[in-house]
Symmetry: C2
Subunit: 219 residues, 2 copies
Amino acid sequence: MPTKARITALRCAPVRFQGQVRDLAVRWVLEEAGIAYDVRLVGPEEQNSPAYRALHPFGKVPAYEDGDVALFESGAIVMHIAEKTPPLLPEEPAARARAKAWVFAALNSVDPDIIALGDIDHFAADEAWAKQRRPALAAMVQARLDAVAAYLAGREYLVDRFGAADIMMIMVLTALRHTTMIADMPTLRAYRDRCEARPAFQRALKGQLDAFAQGVTSS
Amino acid sequence: MPTKARITALRCAPVRFQGQVRDLAVRWVLEEAGIAYDVRLVGPEEQNSPAYRALHPFGKVPAYEDGDVALFESGAIVMHIAEKTPPLLPEEPAARARAKAWVFAALNSVDPDIIALGDIDHFAADEAWAKQRRPALAAMVQARLDAVAAYLAGREYLVDRFGAADIMMIMVLTALRHTTMIADMPTLRAYRDRCEARPAFQRALKGQLDAFAQGVTSS
């Protein structure tokens, strides 16, 4: 294993997905933590190779390695880095546990319907089944967004101050970029803008976009 | 907050969902840990109340409280209990981090497509869009199952010995009970049977089913 942190990211992606591939969350948490990292770009052939599957059983990105661990799943990697980086998770045990609950909530209560909506809009918009399905699915997404917005009312961040939960939630909401759903909700729009204005986010986003633009790897 | 552990579960559910509501995972981890708990049954009216939303922002079950924390999201609760229960997460840091990655993988790489397939089969089987959509969705589920089975080949559990990752993966796979997808895969079938044979799982399952049968709460 490399001693310097190393992540994998996609070598190629359609323009509409650039800026929302999940290595963005891991880049972001590493930037917030001030941890230097290399990026190894991978394509479908490597993703399906036994060597890569040993690192990431589902063949996705990002995978993460440093001198101590080899991890997969953006949520797990964000949590792992945040646990070593005091500002990104509360110190107080009850608040810390609740912050972790929000990381799971982003990934299991908010993300699935958003991904399904994106699948329709990006891959099946003209299919009859998609046209029939979309209104109910959009309503399900809206209900989850309403719950997040209701919780955020009067709060700047999901838990006291900016941290791992916000990184994961913003990552998930990014997949609605092709819609106006966030823009139409003042609380969520302000929350997203507040989080995305962070220099660490901007560096992470630039890193992902630059890699797609140049198709070169830094390691 | 109560000092004794307390979870919420649904007062009513269609028979086909009994045995697969997510409080099962939390009951299971508590049974494995030997932690006594009360169950408070809730219905739609309470789930939408401001008091319940303060405990669980999405109004779902389970929510969890003890003398120290108030949590939501079955993944977060399972992780929280497992972190205090040595046999359920490896002690060695790298293996421990990877076990946590599998908890996230169950919930974010395996669960979403399974839930979407269940939504079709349980709620929309006769609709035209569902008939058109199902084959592609079933193939996506199968690809994820294939990845899990490939990883499990030669292993009894996801990480060394039975633990939090297996609890979450089995909970997720439970939602395929109405299909033969697991039964048709010898590795996954054996893995599921091995995990579900555990006395703690059997007590957790009986607890959920008894609550539905009796409609009474233990607290």
